[in-house]
Symmetry: C2
Subunit: 214 residues, 2 copies
Amino acid sequence: MGDQVSEQTTNRLSLYLRFLNELDADGVRTVSSKVLAEQFALNAALIRKDLSHFGDLGVRGVGYVVKDLRQRLRQILGLDRRLNVAIIGAGNLGFALADYPGFRQEGFRIVALFDSLPGKVGRRSRSGVLIHDSRELERVARREGITIAVIAVPAASAQMVVNTVVEAGIKAVLNFSPGALRVPPGVKLKSVDLTVSLESLSFYLASSGDGARM
Amino acid sequence: MGDQVSEQTTNRLSLYLRFLNELDADGVRTVSSKVLAEQFALNAALIRKDLSHFGDLGVRGVGYVVKDLRQRLRQILGLDRRLNVAIIGAGNLGFALADYPGFRQEGFRIVALFDSLPGKVGRRSRSGVLIHDSRELERVARREGITIAVIAVPAASAQMVVNTVVEAGIKAVLNFSPGALRVPPGVKLKSVDLTVSLESLSFYLASSGDGARM
DNA sequence: TTTTGTGAAACGCTTCACAGCT
DNA sequence: AGCTGTGAAGCGTTTCACAAAA
C-alpha cells in the first residue's frame, strides 16, 4: 500500500465509489469484485488489484463490505473534507460548470468565479456564485481556501491564467481550454479537450465505413 | 498503414493537427518530429510511429511538409467534410456546448439542440441553434444529416436518450453524463466524466501531502 | 549531416491462475 | 464452497537505437 497508483486506477476508484453510493442507498451490505466487474465491464482481478493498493479492504469468501469500502474510498479520494473550487472564466462554459449539480454532489463547492471583463465582475451565476475580478484571484483563493482551479477561458489566455493560478498557491488544475499548458512540478494539471474528443469520433466515422469514405 | 490505430494515437493526431494549423498560419514550411515532440513533451519516435500508421508522410533529412501533413491529418481525422452535430439536453451544459467556439473552428456544425421540456422547445441558443422536441430526434437527425450526438442530460435519463440516438442511426456519441452507458457494437461512445476528473485532482491533493492529510 | 521509419527492448497495465483465508 | 490478494504471464504502448534516404 502507498506505492504509486496509476491515474487509470484512481479514475476507476471514482466509478466504484459512485456505484457503492447507490448500493449503500439501496441497503446492500456486501459486494464482490465479480459484481463490480460486471457493472463496469471490467475484469474482476483488475478491481481487486485497484483496491489492494490501499490495504486489505475485502474479506475472503465474502467480498467487500459496502459501507466500509465506500467510506474508505471517500477517504482515499480525499472527499471526506471540504474541497473549494474556483472557476476562471465566466463565459458560457464557466457558468455551466459553476452550476453543474454533479460537482456539488460529491462534496465539491464552487466558491468563486473569476473574469477579467469589468461588466461581469460583481454579478452572480444562476446558483449564486459571485464573479470576482481576475486580479483578485490570489487574495480570494487564500481567503476562501481554494484548492482546485477550473480553467474555462479561451486558449489564447489560458497559459497566463494558469500561471496566476499557480502563483496563488493552487496545486490542482482542471483545464478545459484547448492546447498544451505548462505547470511546474508539484502542481497537478488535468485537461479535458473537447475538440480532441469530437475529433476522435470523427476519426471513427471516417475510418469505419460510414459511406462518405472508404 | 491501415492497421488498427489506438485511441491514444488518434487523440495525439488531433493535437498535432492543431499545432500544424498554427505553423501553417505562421508560414512555416516543414517541421521535424523533434520539434513536435518538444511542443507536446512527447518522445520524437512516438510521433513518427503515430504518423507512420498512415504511410510515409515525412521526408528523411527534412521532416514533414507542414501543408501536406496538415491536409493529410484533416483527411485521416475525417475533418475534410461537413460534420453535423446534435446536442441532446438544453440545460446549462448543453447550451454552453452549443455555443462553444472551439467546435465550429474545426468544421463541426452544431445543427440542433433537443430537449423534452415543452417550455424550451422552439427557443434558440445565443448563437441561434434551435431547440427541438426530443421526440423529433430521429426525423431531424435524418433530415439534417446528423452524424454525431452529444449527450448533456442528467444521469437518470442518459441511457434512454442514448437508445433513442442509436435508433436514429447516429453512430458516434460524446457523453457528458456520469455513469456507464451501453451502446451496441458499431456505435462509438466517448465519455467525458467531469466528476471523475475533479475527483482525480482531489486524490492528488489528498495523497501528495497538502497539509490536510499525510 | 539531418531526420525519417522501424525492428527490438523496455515498460506498464491487465488478465490469468491459484494459494490462502473465512 | 466462495472470494480475496497476488506472483507470473500476456499484451499493448512507448522508447531506444540504427539502417536508409535526402
